[in-house]
């Protein structure tokens, strides 16, 4: 349970928050250790059994020992999961005319923060994604700059794994640009090369005024019908990118209606 974000099931109730506080107090009283970032093992009656801090919990052997000890103490019998597993990262609700985009970003450095990539979803309404198209009939070499507001929206999460306790855009953009140039034409379809630059400040921790900077060049392409009514593929990747002088990679892709349907959206 996140201490701030509602998560995939929505915000926890006041009763649920109070229960977590009770558990926190129970562990402290029994001197079993507690924290805002912590693993708690409860007995079936809800009382405290054992726990681990985040540093220890990140070691698979230590975590396995904790769980096996709990099973041993409680005499837990093997069985099917009591809750059906489901993906943690799922696309948000969208309308038929929306463009759904998925972003993966990962630092190329090591450490606990970088063991899993971050994933964000972005939904553009039809009036928004229509701004991706040129204002005239596409022809080879036609080039146009993307609207700054849309550019900022597209690039808002182009940074590696950091702590985000809200959906607030915490960026201070110094430079954000995306330029499209038609490089290929087919029967009723066109491809535009995307080139861009992003320089922005994004503090690793919210509420801390640290000068953590993203510096990235961007590359991608947009496949669309020449009449400007439909996007086939939108892809944007970091060509070269650093955050706090450490390399990272990010990739944004449009998600087809078929894929969204397969994901249950």
């Amino acid at each position: 349970m996140s201490n701030q974000n509602p998560g995939p099931f929505g915000p926890p109730s006041a009763e649920a928050r109070a229960e977590v506080q009770r558990i926190y107090g129970d562990f402290l009283n029994r001197k079993l250790g507690a924290g805002t970032v912590h693993v708690y093992i409860l007995k079936p009656d809800g009382s405290a059994l054992s726990g681990l801090g985040p540093v220890e919990a990140a070691h698979p052997d230590v975590m396995k020992r904790l769980l096996m000890d709990a099973i041993g103490q409680l005499g837990t019998k093997p069985g099917a999961p009591t809750v059906k597993p489901r993906p943690q990262s799922v696309p948000p609700k969208s309308e038929g005319g929306d463009l759904v985009l998925h972003l993966v970003s990962r630092s190329h450095g090591g450490g606990n923060w970088h063991q899993f990539p971050s994933e964000n979803w972005l939904v553009l309404s039809r009036p928004e994604w229509m701004q991706l198209f040129p204002r005239e009939t596409p022809h080879a070499g036609l080039s146009w700059q993307l609207d700054p507001t849309l550019t900022r929206k597209l690039l808002a999460r182009f940074y590696p794994q950091t702590e985000e306790t809200s959906n607030q855009d915490r960026n201070r953009i110094d430079e954000a640009s995306l330029r499209l140039t038609v490089t290929a034409l087919g029967a009723g379809v066109a491809r535009a090369r995307i080139e861009g630059r992003l320089r922005m400040k994004h503090a690793f921790y919210p509420g801390k005024d640290s000068e953590d900077d993203v510096d990235a060049t961007l590359l991608g392409f947009l496949d669309f019908d020449s009449a400007g009514q439909h996007i086939q593929r939108l892809r944007i990747i970091t060509d070269r990118a650093t955050y706090k002088n450490e390399a990272f990679g990010a990739a944004m892709r449009s998600v087809s209606a078929e894929t969204l349907e397969a994901l249950g959206q």
């Binding site: 926890p12 970032v37 409860l42 993906p87 990539p117 985000e164 990679g249």
Partner: protein, 86 residues
């Protein structure tokens, strides 16, 4: 005659579909970008958290624990585990 008619209708439908949605083949740019997109996607190992069935909240978890005589695994954290930004 009937089969020829069906074939003609099918052919017309396929031509219509092709006209409605043509695609450009991947060139050097598209190939390079798509490869990088693929390379950065979460791996099967990185998706193992999705194999865990998480209860919607602590109250639901405790109810399941009581009825199934199971322990509860509660993980509290700062940030958003769904985005990996935590």
């Amino acid at each position: 005659m009937r089969s020829i008619g069906v074939l003609s209708a099918l052919t017309a439908a396929l031509v219509g579909a092709a006209a409605a949605e043509n695609f450009l083949a991947d060139d050097k740019l598209a190939g390079h970008v798509e490869a990088r997109v693929h390379e950065l996607q979460p791996t099967r190992d990185e998706r193992k958290l999705d194999l865990v069935g998480w209860a919607p909240d602590i109250l639901a978890a405790e109810k399941l624990a009581r009825t199934g005589n199971r322990p509860v695994f509660l993980f509290t954290y700062d940030g958003d585990i769904g985005t990996g930004r935590c």
